[in-house]
Symmetry: C2
Subunit: 391 residues, 2 copies
């Protein structure tokens, strides 16, 4: 039982609070700021000249401080890698879509410690880049035991675990999607739900590997009945029912959102469903980027995440995702930073992260730069790290 | 006088030598390799099982090792920053081109130590990302004294210094380009040539801020007569005479090369002039990318560099430039790695860097990954560092 001590972070050249009442603009920016952390929680925020005393002092010497990034979409429990497939795809060699099956094989064959070490290494890599909350999906096991194992391992590291048995139809169920959905919504759900907060489904009717509207609805309803909250992979590769299903079921997030018609956008407006965009995927696959401007201009809440996975996007970098959001999706730097912090927190229905209001978790990212603008201004430069507050 | 000692680097999962006779493919890849460094020079390369003994041993535990990146185009001697201008440009606010003048003002106003600290910090940032050779241009002083000062400071850090008095026409010479060219080719060249290896000119006849064909020719000829070697900024914003001038004068490199006609490509083929592409600029300005495939397929030698500067591209990351080259310019991962190492070394007419043949400088980059492919496969992730060999 160590005594609770407080720390004042001083010398903050620019503090992004995401609290418009605390500072300038939508990011609630306070210049020449200080912040007091008490027992892991933000206890005070304001101009450095008004900062109260604290037991300890950390001086960041003029750097910018942001809420830690919230990566609300990742697939970290897997074995193997697919850089040769990536190289072939980028070099124009036709790709037959067989890649994900190789990750499923490697994941099933790996022992727990191998999977655990990979998750741990990727989370450390994320934390070193300023990410302080990570959602982790299953989805490379696709048997009752392998999905439950993936979630048990993920749960060792985060509360934000997502059961994604309905990621793809595994090869052994090829042509028998209905039987696989029965497995997912029956024994697999039963084995997985104790280890998961969320359930997710890859709704993509045009793909033989994914799930159509009816199958997706069955997965979401079964998950809801088992007490899980909902997320959807929707409208990534073509127009389809993913967004409407997500909104209809009150899902917290629908992710990808590349192919949207007017009805989809209208449904998202005013709903409690966040549109999570994953521009690293489009960067790594040369697919078209989602139309972020259309969503934001319509009033939809937008989040950014990495989708870190060995196939379609193996970046763990929230900074490059914000840079891509600015360059390729024409989000402003302000919108991109908000979407990667508070927007992503909303997609996880979390009120304690993604901002630095009093009472928030003291998850802090510090930039080797004077302003949040440098995230997009200096693409690829490792500027961001998590500010570790001694406790 | 410390005794010369040798170091064997072992556990190299994949070694990129750029020596096709030493290993597989154009990158000369040796798997499960070792490399001996003797007095700062590569003394032996081969399979780990054949490695000779050495005084010391560094185990990289399966990681990939590459020749250190060669960043052959940078503008590091400046003061101030322009992230607000970047944010405005990305947000669609019309930009009046006045930005560079603000960097010139800030640079002239800064004292030597301010400029020196900035160069040192950016070089440390580059080295931390695996870059071991950096070319540095002047071009934000634009007076005799300020250009000479920039080159003196650059020379403290690199032999690859480039006199770029003909970067832009400074405001005080607006409408008097001929007079400014007389200054550049006269007193400014005389003051700068002792501190520079190279002379460079921004040849862009359509821009009121840059130099047309005749002015560019005058700058290159005067530089050559003063004993400097030649580089050219050419064909960045429109078709023009830059490439042909570069080839005609035997320049080592013509940089940017976005707008090329068939005659330009034909002139580069078989010439001693390298085409240096700078995809970070197009990423940060939303300009069209150069057609790397057309150049490579025609047989032109292509290099990649950052163009690190506070206006059009403030990345210092050679890894993100290789990822952009693959994603946006359709270079293969092999071509991109070669262009960022040996290609860039050729653009500096250096035979001792950019590869790991016996006799090369022991400039080594190590990846937190098993293969060079991860540079493009994992965009934005800080995988690369310089491997420091104790001496």
């Amino acid at each position: 039982m160590s005594p609770i001590t407080s720390t004042v972070v001083t010398g903050i050249g620019e503090l992004v609070t995401n609290d418009p009442s605390a500072g300038e603009g939508p990011l609630g920016i306070v210049n020449d700021a200080a912040l007091v952390v008490d027992d892991g929680t933000v206890a005070w925020v304001g101009p450095a000249t008004d900062a109260p005393a604290a037991d300890r002092r950390v001086d960041v010497e003029g750097r910018a401080v942001l809420p830690g990034f919230v990566d609300s979409h990742s697939h970290l429990v897997f074995a193997g890698e697919r850089s040769a497939e990536f190289e072939a795809r980028m070099s124009g060699v036709p790709y037959d879509g067989g890649g994900i099956a190789s990750t499923v094989r490697a994941t099933r064959d790996a022992d727990d410690d191998t999977l655990r070490r990979r998750v741990k290494a990727l989370l450390a890599e994320m934390r070193a880049q300023g990410t302080t909350t990570v959602e982790i999906k299953s989805g490379y096991g696709l048997t009752v035991d392998d999905e439950a194992r993936a979630l048990r391992i993920a749960r060792e590291f985060t509360q934000e675990t997502t059961f994604l048995g309905a990621h793809v139809v595994p090869p052994e169920y090829s042509g028998r999607v209905d039987e696989y959905v029965e497995l997912v919504t029956g024994p697999m759900l039963q084995a997985c739900s104790p280890h998961a907060r969320w359930i997710d489904v890859f709704c993509e009717p045009g793909s033989p590997h994914a799930f159509d509207g009816d199958a997706s609805r069955a997965v979401l309803q079964a998950g809801q009945e088992a007490g899980l909250e909902l997320r959807v992979h929707g409208n990534q590769l073509s127009y389809g029912p993913g967004v409407l299903l997500a909104v209809e079921h009150g899902a917290a997030s629908v992710d990808h959102c590349t192919f949207l018609d007017d009805e989809d956008v209208a449904a998202l407006v005013g709903s409690s469903t966040v549109a999570t965009l994953l521009p690293g995927v489009e960067f790594s696959t040369r697919q078209p980027y989602p139309d972020a401007r259309r969503l934001i201009d319509a009033g939809v809440t937008v989040a950014l995440a990495t989708d870190c996975n060995p196939g379609t996007c193996f970046t763990s970098s929230m900074p490059i995702c914000t840079a891509l959001a600015v360059r390729e999706m024409r989000m402003t730097p302000v919108e991109a930073v908000w979407a990667a912090t508070e927007g992503a927190a909303k997609s996880l229905r979390r009120k304690d992260i993604g901002h630095l209001r009093v009472g928030a978790r003291a998850d802090l990212a510090v930039l080797e730069a004077p302003s949040y603008r440098h995230l997009a201004y200096r693409p690829g430069v490792p500027l961001t790290r998590t500010l570790e507050i001694p406790s």
